[in-house]
Amino acid sequence: MPNMSLKKNPMPHQDPVVRAGNFQEVALGYTKEQAIDEAQRCLHCKNMPCVSGCPVMIHIPEFIAKVAEGDFEAAYQIIAQDSALPAVCGRVCPQETQCESKCVRGIKGEPVGIGRLERFVADWHNANATEKAVVPAPNGHKVAVIGSGPSGLTCAGDLARKGYEVTVFEALHLAGGVLVYGIPEFRLPKSIVQKEVDGLKELGVKIETNVVIGRSITIDELMEEMGFEAVFIGSGAGLPMFMHIPGENLKGVYSANEFLTRINLMKAYREGADTPIMDLKGKKVAVVGGGNVAMDAARCSKRLGAEVYVIYRRSEAELPARREEVEHAKEEGIIFKTLTNPVEILGYHNPDDRRDPKNGSVCGIKCVEMELGEPDASGRRRPIVKEGSEFEMEMDCVIMSLGTSPNPLIKSTTKGLEINKKGGIIVNEDGLTSREHVYAGGDAVTGAATVILAMGAGKTAAKAIDEQLKNK
């Protein structure tokens, strides 16, 4: 008899006041009992609409049935057929617009907590599974993967399971891409990313960190000299955008990428870390932008002791961040200044003391109020400046979170690789680029998007690479 409760089992959370002072995970995860109870809400529809909402097409009702039986390892094995990073996706996917948006239970009441169940299953496996992964028999083919973010790791995992000899090249000193430098510990503990990366290594995937493709090695060298028969480019969209307004190069202005890299990858928030970050205790921080990255930067600033403002030029309804992230930010005391746009960052100058260390630092932000006009090309109502609405706010730090675009390094060092106007690599439906045997996927193709879409692209390319190479 299914559980006909209209509501999802709620997710236990750290108290907002407590969590705003630490970097520990906010959402605490289901207990066994909560997971089994939630799994019993699934109606096991024959046409499985939820699966069509998942970019990697996890066999959702099948794994949920195993959870309901209490056989969590079996549930994990079902998910693992399609997803290389379930503990990550269960946490960071926007399920409300994907699998859960298609759930029949969502028509009247709340959908089944698919993401929460996926997370529970993956965490259970990571904590309890003892059996080593079975390394598949090698098929004699070599593939190189550029970038160890979600698309690269997925592509590598899928190919390794088919017996390919896969090497992943990563520019930074840790694998994971945005999962390690971008998404903060309180949303995605780094130990979980590491576990999933270790899982891939057990499958035989080689990961070479500190290699910048385009500088250390070129794509042509990978193929001509090092014997890789195909290459997958999953280098992401890591190039930060700035507003190009006065004052943007003052001390105390960060890109969200820099701020989050210092905190997440370099652990600048920890006592013993060598990498510094501005002391934000009792300071005022403005985060400009309204996406998930802006929410992450704002919530990190809060945890460093700042009073935090999110400045966004459209209204709250248009915030591109997930609803849940906005709610979490608000619970933690972050102040939203919507329909507001910065026009200048103001700097401190002490003409009497040129050596005053505060000289050249941020002291405020000048903004204008906005109102919404007609919808623009993106379908969102265009923000228009309200005449004479200029005002100033005191600030000590400004974090620019305006989005990112693909890094031009690979494009500029690879002949014949076609790129669109926004810097994204052009690919066909299989992920094949304009270069033979060179595939691409994830943000490097689409510009900044989601973890799960990147994973879907990595999967598509892995399938196409396999079809091409296995018949060779």
Binding site: A171, L172, H173, Y181, T209, N210, V211, V212, R215, S216, I217, G238, L239, P240, F242, H244, E248, N249, L250, K251, G252, Y254, S255, N257, E258, T261, R262, M266, K267, G272, A273, D274, T275, P276, M278, D279, P357, N359, G360, T404, N407, P408, L409
Partner: protein, 287 residues
Amino acid sequence: MVKIVRKQVLNPSVTLLEVEAPRIAKKAQAGQFIILRLDEEGERIPLTIGDYDREKGTITIMFQKVGLTTQLLGDLNEGDAIRDFVGPLGQPTRPELGDDIKRVCVVGGGVGCAIAYPQAKSLHAEGIEVDVIAGFRSKDIVILEEEFKAASDHFYLTTDDGSYGEKGFVTDKLKALIEAGNQYDAVIAIGPVPMMKFVSKTTEPYGIKTLVSLNPIMIDGTGMCGCCRVTVGGKMKFACVDGPDFDGHQVDFDELMNRNSVYREREAQEKERHACRMEKLAHDMIH
């Protein structure tokens, strides 16, 4: 991990390390840099590639002990290892100079001479006439004198206090050489930001193309954060991917100096943490 194969103390504050990094040695060109990290708690710091040996598969870095990381690095010995070492990063200098170049003046200031040296060496090896002006505060910190002599057509050494070579600043010497009728197709200036600023100011009235090697704060060194952004010709550039060399007549040096002072207070505190971190590092090496 890369292994240190040679260590040479050039003067009380400047150390040279030669490390095994075949992949980087294969690709490195003058003007490029690496980023290193010592251990788990370590920060990422950029250092210019001082020299490379493609046959041996080694590259050389030279650095001044100015803060925690460079102090720890300076305390390492032959046989020790550096955890993370990535490169070559940035654009090489040579293409910036153009093809029809006949005579260049390379100006190095202090530890910047360690970076000026590979520039002089590679241009000299190419058959270009190279004058070098190397400036130091005083005699006790002079480095690479013999190496420079071998890598240049004319070598001039200055000290601020006159304790060795000619007394005065590199800019004085440069101006004197230009006034004396020496025709330079380009000047390459590498050293502290104020020195590069004044070299650029010196050459500007004569319209001599001047390249400077900028040293902003960096983290990833691959263009993903913009920490190293500088203003060149009124436009925002990322030194790690667009540079580190730029046209000295276009650079906003005052802004660069300001941005480089962001963590000054914190850097001062770090020196005190040096001893306990050194112990930890030694421990990591053994285990």
